[in-house]
Symmetry: C2
Subunit: 131 residues, 2 copies
């Protein structure tokens, strides 16, 4: 059994080398653009600058056959199961990126501090829920 | 372009009727089991009771051709783009469920307050990051 996940857009970023990208947005990642497919634009209705959202990406450079890793790629950290880490290497390499919306220009949405590299496929956007 | 997402397990829950399921875990959802595939068990190494995690599911009953909805299925709420809501209906129906791990018994992991219905495919588990 498997399901077909279709990108709804892609990240446009000055980050092009995965080895140089921060591991989390809060670790010095640059602002970036989300470029959406024209077919899904209606799904952005109501999105506003200042909104806190979670961008979901498909980390297409990740290894999917890895189940244990050294957290933060540091061999000094004991190996752990990938489901206890945010490693991009995992069976279904979905990235979760909490970001703030800075501006919206049609299909181009500017966001703050995104660690995903240029070209990364976007698969969903959700609002952050307040408890 | 599309990607193939493979379930790593499924939800086992007393919730069987989607119409009766709470919309969010904090709205009275029952505790539930996550049943993992034997092939991915190594990925759970280091998971402990008390951990706060995000369970990612594939909401296989969702409609994927919907881009605007009445939030919370309430027609009194004006239509909004799905990417500004947590509607399950969206192009890639990935559910995000923040839960606490209650206990672990091999491939069976008990979690608190999960609103996903019985049989929902699980696609990933990630730790909640503290800022």
């Amino acid at each position: 059994m498997s399901f077909d996940i279709k990108p709804i857009g892609r990240v446009e970023s000055e980050l092009t080398d995965p080895a140089q990208a921060p591991m989390q947005g809060s670790e010095g990642a640059p602002d970036a653009w989300l470029i959406f497919e024209p077919a899904v634009l209606e799904g952005l209705d109501g999105l506003r600058p200042g909104a806190q959202v979670i961008v979901l990406t498909w980390l297409d450079r990740a290894r999917r056959d890895v189940l244990r890793v050294h957290p933060r790629d540091d061999s000094a950290n004991p190996m752990q199961g990938v489901f206890t880490t945010r490693s991009q290497d995992r069976p279904n390499p979905i990235g979760l990126h909490p970001v703030e919306i800075l501006s919206i220009d049609g299909a181009r949405v500017r966001v703050r501090s995104l660690e995903a590299v240029d070209g990364t496929p976007i698969v969903d956007v959700k609002p952050v829920l307040r408890a």
